[in-house]
């Protein structure tokens, strides 16, 4: 990884004073993750360029870490040794520490001078593309020149890579320039190589002093700077990932950002949960199952209604259950409330005796996550064996998808959806289930009904 800083302020060689590095010497620094060299490819009165060349040890990144699996650092094949990342921030702090802190013993008057400065970052991973680069640097007054690299020149069909060579130009103090780089490089990369502790907040505030508070993208910067670590549960799951699955698919059930973004304007999520809660209430159910409870939003709603004496959430994702337990504050719940709620890890394609003997079960946006070939197993688990008195099922109405401007035709609302049904498909399914398992069913729309395509979501209520 290479970073160069140039100035045309005359005499340009004064840059050596500010950086505290002599232009005629090559200096080497040992770092925890490798080494850094500082040298000057150009030295002259009109133009002086300092280079910081980072040599990250690719084997050391993987070896000797607690866990040798999961995460980009767990793999020998990764871009870390080559790109601008939090490693570069750490190196800036170590190698240009005096400049970053605004000290210059020999020429203290230079510190506050604004110079014409140009920075070139050889490879920047901008997860968020050029727009992110502009969002981060333009408000700070930089002019930006970017060059995006292709993934592989011989495979045009693979498209562009997330990597840019970036040149930033601004007349400013060196100290401020370094502080901007220190904070924003990991933000571009959206990853950090070390454990994020509480002192990270202090660091952010210190180096962001004077500019971060007024930055229009400050929330995004903070969020990405304080990225959270992966959970152990997710790492175990990752080991079972197929080579053709991207991480996003595995995570799909946990985060449905796309779906939420689509449905957000309709407040559909809330409308749907309210509809299900009302349906369960009207059914007179006391002991209720939330099958596929996810992060526990419906559970929380149900607990507020005292009619529900016992509320049990089941999900196949351990990660979701961890989040649900956290959101419900299960650990610190009052004993009487705690007795009303239970979380179970299980699967709707395996018969589970723990699910027997309930008044009602809700499957909110669950069936469309099940392979069509496995749906018959789910039907038997729920309607034949768990056999609650009533069952409430919601699923998207595929016809409504044309009303979502952001959704290309033929695509599902969620990457993990295995199917989305039209109103008549859903009705056919509900009728078939009712007949086979001895239930009677009614279907109701959820959300505002469009004359042509119906409501965005549909709900079936089965009664035995």
């Amino acid at each position: 990884m290479l970073l160069t800083i140039s100035t045309t302020r005359e005499p340009a060689t004064d840059l050596g004073y500010l950086l505290h590095k002599h232009p005629d010497r090559v200096q080497e620094f040992d770092l925890a993750f490798g080494s850094a060299q500082v040298f000057y490819p150009e030295v002259g009165p009109e133009l002086c360029t300092a280079a910081l060349l980072l040599d990250v040890d690719p084997i050391g990144l993987v070896r000797g870490r607690g866990s040798e699996t999961g995460g980009p650092l767990g793999r020998y094949v990764n871009d870390r040794p080559y790109v601008a990342s939090s490693f570069l921030s750490v190196a800036i702090g170590r190698v240009f520490g005096t400049a970053l802190s605004g000290t210059c013993k020999q020429r203290p008057e230079l510190v506050a001078e604004a110079w014409p400065l140009q920075v070139r970052l050889a490879v920047v991973p901008a997860r968020g593309g050029e727009a992110l680069l502009q969002r981060l640097f333009e408000p700070l007054g930089y002019s930006i020149v970017t060059h995006r690299h292709p993934l592989d020149a011989r495979h045009e069909e693979w498209g562009a890579s997330p990597y840019f060579t970036v040149t930033l130009t601004k007349t400013t103090t060196l100290r401020e320039l370094l502080a901007h780089l220190y904070v924003l490089i990991p933000v571009l990369d959206d990853d950090k190589h070390y454990y994020i502790g509480v002192d990270e907040v202090d660091k952010l505030l210190r180096h962001g002093a004077g500019w971060l508070a007024n930055h229009p993208a400050r929330e995004e910067i903070a969020l990405r700077s304080l990225r959270r670590q992966r959970s152990l549960a997710r790492m175990a799951l990752e080991r079972l990932r197929d080579e053709d699955e991207s991480e996003s698919r595995v995570e799909a059930v946990e985060r449905s950002a796309v779906e939420e973004a689509l449905e957000q304007p309709l407040r559909l999520h809330r409308v749907r949960l309210d509809a299900v809660r009302d349906a369960l209430h009207d059914l007179g159910a006391k002991r209720v199952l939330d099958l596929g409870c996810g992060e526990g939003k419906l559970l929380r709603l149900l607990l507020r209604d005292k009619q529900f004496e016992c509320v049990v959430g089941l999900d196949t994702s351990i990660r979701c259950l961890e989040v649900a337990a956290e959101r419900l504050h299960l650990d610190e719940m009052a004993p009487r409330m705690r007795e009303r709620v239970e979380l179970l890890h299980g699967s709707l394609t395996y018969r589970d005796t723990r699910l027997e003997g309930f008044d009602a079960a809700a499957l909110v946006e669950v069936i469309e996550h099940v392979e069509p070939s496995r749906l018959s197993a789910l039907e038997r688990v729920v309607f034949e064996h768990a056999r609650p008195t009533s069952v409430v099922v919601t699923t998207p109405n595929a016809e409504y998808n044309v009303r979502f401007a952001g959704l290309p035709a033929g695509r599902f609302r969620h990457a993990d959806h295995r199917f989305e049904w039209t109103r008549s498909e859903f009705a056919t399914w509900a009728a078939s289930v009712s007949e086979r398992f001895g239930y009677a069913s009614t279907i109701a729309p959820i959300g505002d009904v469009d004359d042509e395509v119906g409501s965005p979501c549909q709900m079936a209520v089965f009664r035995r």
Partner: protein
């Protein structure tokens, strides 16, 4: 089943069933603890004093008694559930105290036995005085003693099956306690058996069946009828000493009950047969004993046919019927026979419930539209290890379900009389001569769906969470007791339920494979020498080296025709098979593409004549499917290509900047050289993975390289060596055009250096061209070396390929030195366990075990794969 009086024990021995709840009864100081200590193991004796001490630190603290008994009952319950003899050492002089214990015995179907120590009061009081911790009032002992004596006579009526009373201290010293097996316990009888379903007086069919089974039936005429006439006597023997087992319901409805009874009684008497009672025998006995029973369901015919039989024989008959035991546990516990079957928690136990279940099945108390009792189908939920063979419910065909089988095929209703040969598990039937009786309920009225799937397949539609969740221990033929940790099951459950294909297709998942130890050859991390050395050290003599293809692992099941998936796998729908990945996901997202591949493979197998050669209509193959990029596109786009792009851009920029610095005389020569080398390595790395990428537009762009013929009908081919597998596959590939790719291989004799050198040269040549490397396997599929089961395979990867594993710059000397340090033992242990589970899954499938038994193994492989192991190995 009605012996066991109140036995005043004088000098002999006390007989205790080896599974029973022994209740000591006696006042404080009567010597119960001493007696229990002397005759039972310390762990068998649960003493109220000890439990008082456990819960209250004081064995004399009477206020702790309720808690102490709570704990005692809990422990006793667990022991009985696990079928362990348990002795309760407490005074038990009060009826209320005994009632709880009797209830406990009933719940776990243990025979309750009372051993009463009725000692003179004086002796007890003297003993108590000697014990400083027993400071209770004088009135206590006489009070307990009078309770005891009042109870004595009622103990049998309370429910104790055996009651022994010891009232002489001298006798107490001499008495011996003998443990006797339960009447149902015939574990030492190992067969072979011929188990015969409900006969119902169908004598001719019975005789024909016995002869079909190879028995010699000799008939003698002898006196036996009241009016001086002659009756038949039968001698039935089998030349190979096989034994018949009759499942009851010998009588009623059919044409010749007396001869059936004579034949069976004779066989039982001569030790050539065992017989358990059916509900019809029980009713007959009650009638013969003069009880008032409703004469229906064919009893009338029996009574009519028995008229005129001699009084002696009738008395023999009563004695025979009275002596029939509810069920038998045979062959070291592997086989249970009972008229109406038996749940696992009732097997080898004794209680009224056990008997009634064995006779009538799991009745719910309801009556169906034909006026017959409704029975819960216990076999659907059966999870026991023992095989259960039963009758009672006539069905058109005997069918296995969860290791149980009902072999009542309704002979008397015009069906057939069926026997099951054990251990062969072979069904033998003879048709009914005529319809002797019209069935009340039509035979087919059970849940039969119009389908050509077996009962087991219909049942297997649904797996149970209890069969996979939590910590599990799976026993396999190759390796006993493989533990699956709960955390791993958790991850596997999520993947199975969200991503895997229909579990009925998943009869196998491939094991992981360890690389060889690292090489010391310059610039090489892996080299064939270590792979050969590994097997030589393990005591293996010859190995096969197979070229390793850089694609994705695929398991393919292909069927000869479209109806095979339904018949053999229970999967209805279209298609001739399936292709899935190492984690059980569908390989193709495009059904048409998958179908085209399977049809192509099926035709090649047909052309090669393999279907007939293996006498099968399905084959399961272990394969590699290329190109790698077809499956790994996401990985290439998200990891491999970006690393190459970033690395080359960064290093080019570094080199040009260093060149500028060098031009102006800065001392960066070493850095410049180093970065030029690094850039060259990045170029080689991009070259390395580009080798495995080509675009796939249609089936003709794929290459399938099978390397194991894992299984076909009736056979798991792990008993064949790898040359057999390679040759069979080569023949299929010959007929398979460009799509099918035969794997090049070499056989190496490890004692012959020339043979090893030849294979090494072959590996060098292949890997220099960018090949992935090779897999070295013992020539035998399952090889046992001098340290047990040998690694099924070891991979030896080429230097170019390893760039995409260990990173673009791994071959730099400073990196290589560190990479050589790697631990293989966890990976190897995992490989062996997964291999054993995979083979077990196939073997269970081939012998038609219930799906959950197959699934358990496959699920286990997936769970083990979530173990945290260095993914680069």
């Amino acid at each position: 089943m009605s012996n066991g009086r109140i036995s005043p024990v004088k000098n002999m021995e006390i007989k205790v069933p080896e599974f029973s709840l022994v209740v000591m009864v006696g006042v404080s100081g009567s010597g119960k603890s001493t007696f229990a200590r002397k005759h039972f193991r310390p762990t068998e004796v649960l003493s109220s004093d000890a439990f008082r001490a456990l819960v209250a630190d004081d064995d004399g603290d009477q206020s702790a008694t309720p808690d102490a008994f709570d704990a005692l009952f809990h422990v006793a319950g667990i022991r009985l559930r696990n079928r362990r003899l348990t002795v309760i050492d407490a005074t038990n002089t009060q009826k209320e105290a005994r009632r709880g214990l009797l209830e406990l015995a009933r719940r776990y179907h243990a025979l309750p036995v009372a051993i009463v120590l009725d000692m003179p009061n004086k002796i007890c009081m003297d003993r108590n005085r000697e014990r400083p911790d027993r400071a209770f009032g004088k009135h206590v002992i006489p009070q307990q003693a009078s309770q005891l004596r009042r109870s004595l006579r009622g103990l049998r009526r309370e429910g104790f099956r055996h009651v022994y009373v010891l009232s002489d201290p001298k006798v107490v010293d001499r008495v011996e306690v003998e443990r006797v097996p339960l009447w149902t316990d015939k574990r030492s009888e190992t067969g072979p058996f011929d188990i015969i379903g409900d006969v119902h007086g169908c004598f001719d069919e019975l005789r024909a069946l016995l002869e079909e089974l190879g028995y010699r039936v000799d008939v003698r005429r002898s006196e036996g009828v009241d009016d001086g006439g002659l009756s038949n006597e039968f001698d039935v023997t089998h030349p190979e000493g096989r034994k018949a087992v009759f499942l009851g319901d010998l009588v009623d409805r059919g044409p010749n009950v007396p001869d059936v009874l004579r034949l069976v009684m004779n066989m039982v008497q001569h030790g050539n047969a065992l017989c358990v009672p059916g509900n019809h025998e029980v009713k007959l006995l009650r009638k013969l004993n003069g009880k008032n029973v409703r004469v229906a369901h064919g009893l009338a015919q029996t009574l009519e046919q028995l008229e005129g039989q001699s009084a002696t024989w009738m008395s023999e008959l009563r004695h025979f019927l009275d002596g029939l035991v509810s069920h038998y546990v045979l062959d070291h516990g592997r086989l249970i026979v009972a008229h109406a079957g038996l749940r696992e928690d009732l097997q080898g136990r004794a209680s009224a419930t056990v008997r009634s279940f064995a006779l009538y099945g799991d009745t719910t108390g309801e009556i169906d539209e034909f006026g017959l009792p409704v029975r819960h189908d216990w076999a659907k939920e059966y999870r026991g290890k023992a095989m259960v063979v039963y009758g009672h419910t006539p069905t058109p065909e005997a069918e296995w379900l969860n290791r149980t089988i009902c072999i009542d095929t309704g002979c008397v209703f015009g069906g057939k009389l069926t026997a099951l040969r054990y251990p062969e598990q072979e069904l033998v039937s003879v048709p009914a001569r005529e319809v002797w009786c019209e069935p009340v309920r039509p035979l087919e009225s059970e849940t039969s769906e119009p389908s050509n799937r077996t009962a087991q397949q219909q049942h297997d539609d649904l797996l149970w969470l209890d069969d996979v969740a939590g910590k599990r221990i799976v026993s396999t033929r190759l390796r006993p007791n493989i533990t699956i940790r709960a955390e791993n099951s958790t991850a596997a459950l999520e993947v199975m339920s969200r991503f895997a294909i229909d579990p009925r297709w998943l009869i196998y998942l491939p094991p992981t494979m360890s690389p060889c130890e690292t090489s010391t050859v310059d610039e090489y991390l892996e080299y064939p020498t270590e792979a050969f050395a590994h097997y030589r050290a393990a005591g293996i003599e010859s190995v096969v080296c197979q070229e390793k293809h850089m694609g994705s692992r695929a398991v393919v099941i292909v069927c000869r025709s479209e109806e095979v998936p339904a018949r053999r796998f229970g999967i209805e729908g279209n298609g001739v098979g399936v292709c899935f990945t190492r984690t059980g996901r569908a390989f193709f997202h495009d059904d048409e593409l998958e179908r085209a591949l399977l049809v192509h493979l099926r035709d090649a197998i047909e052309a090669a004549g393999l279907w007939d050669e293996l006498t099968t209509d399905w084959i399961c193959l272990d394969c590699e499917l290329m190109p790698w990029s077809a499956k790994a596109q996401a990985l290439i786009l998200e990891q491999y290509a970006p690393t190459g792009a970033a690395g080359r851009a960064a290093l080019r920029e570094a080199v040009s900047t260093l060149e500028r610095a060098a031009d102006r005389g800065a001392d960066v020569a070493a850095q410049l050289e180093r970065h030029r080398t690094r850039l060259a390595m990045l170029d080689r790395y991009v070259e390395a993975f580009d080798h495995y990428c080509w675009p796939v537009a249609s089936l003709s762009d794929y290459r399938l390289a099978p390397f194991h013929v894992l299984a076909s009908e009736g056979h798991v081919h792990v008993d064949r060596d790898h040359v057999w597998h390679m040759q069979k596959i080569a023949r299929v590939c010959d007929r398979g055009g460009a799509l099918l790719h035969a794997t090049p291989y070499r056989v190496v004799e490890l004692s012959d250096p020339a043979s090893e050198a030849d294979a090494t040269a072959w590996w060098r040549q292949r890997t220099d061209e960018g090949g992935e490397g090779m897999v070295v396997k013992p020539i035998d599929f399952v090889a046992r070396g001098n340290r047990g089961l040998a690694q099924p395979a070891i991979k030896c990867r080429g230097p170019e390929y390893l760039r995409i594993i260990y990173g673009p710059e791994y071959r730099a000397p400073e990196h290589l030195a560190r990479l050589r340090q790697r631990a293989l033992s966890s990976k190897r242990s995992l490989a062996i366990r997964e291999f054993a589970l995979g083979v077990e899954a196939l073997e269970r499938f081939v012998r038609k075990d219930p799906l959950r038994r197959v699934h358990e193994c496959v699920f286990g492989v997936l769970a083990l794969e979530s173990e945290p192991i260095d993914p680069r190995l």
